[in-house]
Symmetry: C2
Subunit: 422 residues, 2 copies
């Protein structure tokens, strides 16, 4: 088995130094890393071209190759992520609250870096830079374990960032790539108690399961999204069609795409023909009986791709141009369906009924609950975080899009004048 | 293997209802539970007497019997815990922050209950009531797995709380005791993914290790404390003796008691005789060479119990009337020692030097860092939380004394007028 002990030690030492850096020092180093990426464009793109060529030769699906491939626009995007994070307030050294005890002791709850973070991710090289810049700004060291398909790209990016950090007076050892290509690396990271303070898996179902099942270090689960849009009886149906179309087709492979639309029985007759007309043959509709009947009686069915929904559809994250539709009798039934089948990611109600909006918002158990908007906005950049580490679908430590705050913890500072406990 | 599935289901349903309770409803139910405990004093004390008798017959150490035993004063203490928690602000439904995106979407970060919490603990029955009242106020259901030694006491307490909740219009199924007495219960709790949102072990080293190593659900580690007090060159030595005495002897078995005192070389000659005189024969001192020499040359050594410190002493949580003393050359050396051997619980610097206080406070990695006070104040009640779930010695989700906030998570509420993602 390979060893990562040298890397773990080096990350820990760099993190201890970085924890003491001022905001100005961190931002200077980040901007220097950004400049280095810019200066190294040719080398980064050449390294990425090797990965892309090897991936195509190995028969990788073109949709995955697209996630792997870099171009100038994507490099600009990475730089913009660093720029935005550098412009944000320092998440470290904040006094979140404070109070004085009856004996005069002053207690302050302050923010400090979480420590060493590790991210285990699939092919997108932009994650390399996003994760690095958030970690650095939060005073954390980061260990990156990307996929072997992106190894050349990630090596080039990390080399560039390290060079930039060093040139900007920063801590170049606060970033490391686990690049042996061996699957042992993942096991070593998952077992690194006392060396790694959090592991974040980003990728498909299998990767996330493996991490959750095997980790001995804290994990933040991300990204599985069986998400719903509920079209209530009082919804503006024109708006509802726009939102459902956006949530389904703007990026069907995203975790915050809609998979099942729930329609109130009082809206189904009017809504289904509008939806079928909008989708035409682009989206396969898996309809329950009432939705199917509504469409049939409207005469619009002939242009659509329609199949009968089964119970299995309610629990499926299609990640494709497929949409399940279920008719419900009430807001309560919609909430129950969402809480039963949803993955606690992003859920929406489209309504003009304040009580319905309130009930849905309170009772639906999810990271993000929307009223009258597309669920596609669940994203660190959209939320204004600059970059994101991922979208937490768990409730522990971090929930929803994760920016800087997810990489912080607290320290109580207690100041006295000789107080002892009675 | 026994099953807890019925209990898990019932807790989950009760929690979903409790999550919607208003503060008034929760506080009314809590006060009713408090009244029920008061009314059931005789039954609770009788049940506890059975546990105490059985424990003595089984040869339990008297110090542990003391932790198990209840009397009217301790029942008053439990009631006071409920009263204090009921008087606190509702931790649920707070809007922590909020902002408007460029497209007009309004994002609000709100607090919601964490869900179902489980606590696995050793003999103190007061934990039963403390954990319950915090969980209830935070809208969480709680599963209690106490020790078999406290089974009768816990059954009586839980029966009383349930009766009180029902009488007060509350959710009596939001509390349950895993009372089969089988060790299987612990394994079932640790494996209950999707049913239990957090497990908190409270007890000795072995229990905590077992939980951390085996859990498939999120865990908050608590309570191991190898804590230090650093007497800096500029410390007020009279005050330092008071603080070290308090931190060592006020409750030597507590996790926030001091185990090693670090003394600056410029203070050791003056400090050691004062310390030895204060402790007399009550505390065994394990001294490094310089501390021993300082004491010898002062002529005070004869009254003290002194041994030579070994490296093993620096990493030992004595939990006894034993104190290790090490002389250091600088604040830096003190910080390095603390970060190497400490368990990130509670650490103090005694100084009159602002730069030293600042450096220690920033660089020591611990839940609570003190200046010029006893570390014995690391405690939910002392911090003003009313009761505590335990003291988290990890950095993830919760750190330090855990009150209501540790049982909350967040939900983003996003409100729009038809926004779709470009």
């Amino acid at each position: 088995m390979t060893s990562l002990d040298g890397i773990f030690d080096s990350l820990k030492l760099a993190q201890a130094r970085l924890a003491l850096a001022t905001r100005k020092e961190k931002d200077t180093a980040l901007r220097s890393a950004m400049a280095a990426i810019d200066a190294d464009r040719a080398a980064i793109l050449a390294a990425n071209a090797l990965d892309v060529k090897a991936a195509r030769e190995a028969g990788m699906k073109e949709s995955l190759v697209d996630r792997l491939a870099l171009d100038d626009g994507r490099i600009d995007g990475m730089m913009e992520g660093i720029r935005t994070v550098a412009a944000q307030e320092d998440p470290i050294g904040r006094v979140l609250s404070g109070w004085t005890l009856p004996n005069g002791l002053v207690v302050e709850k302050t923010t400090v870096p979480l420590g060493v973070a590790a991210i285990i991710y699939e092919s997108r090289p932009n994650v390399t830079v996003d994760a690095f810049c958030l970690a650095y700004k939060a005073g954390c060291a980061i260990l990156l374990r990307g996929s072997s398909a992106a190894l050349s790209s990630n090596r080039a990016l990390v080399a560039s960032v390290k060079r930039g950090l060093a040139a900007g007076g920063g801590e170049s050892d606060a970033i490391a790539l686990a690049d042996s290509g061996s699957r042992d690396d993942v096991d070593l990271i998952l077992g690194a108690r006392g060396k790694v303070d959090v592991v974040i898996p980003r990728g498909g179902h299998e990767l996330i399961r493996r991490v959750v099942e095997n980790a001995r270090v804290p994990v933040i689960e991300t990204g599985e999204g069986n998400c719903h849009v509920f079209v209530d009886a009082s919804a503006d149906l024109k708006r509802a069609v726009d939102i459902v179309e956006n949530a389904k087709t703007q990026k069907p492979g995203a975790c915050n795409a809609v998979e099942t639309v729930l329609v109130h029985r009082d809206a189904v007759a009017a809504f289904m023909p509008l939806l079928a007309e909008r989708f035409g043959r682009r989206v396969e509709l898996r309809l329950d009986e009432r939705a199917k009947a509504a469409l049939a009686s409207s005469g619009s069915a002939s242009v659509s791709r329609i199949t009968d929904a089964t119970d299995a559809d309610w629990e499926t994250e299609f990640l494709d141009f497929i949409l399940a539709v279920k008719t419900v009798d009430s807001v309560d039934e919609a909430i129950e369906h969402v809480n039963r089948y949803g993955t606690k990611h992003s859920e929406a109600i489209l309504t003009n009924d304040l009580d319905a909006a309130r009930a849905f918002g309170l009772r639906v158990d999810a990271a993000c609950v929307y009223t009258n908007a597309s669920i596609r906005f669940t994203d660190g950049s959209e939320f204004g975080f600059g970059a994101e580490l991922g979208i937490s679908t768990q409730k522990f430590h971090a929930r929803g899009p994760m920016g800087l705050e997810a990489l912080t913890t607290i320290k109580y500072r207690v100041s006295g004048t000789g107080q002892i406990r009675e």
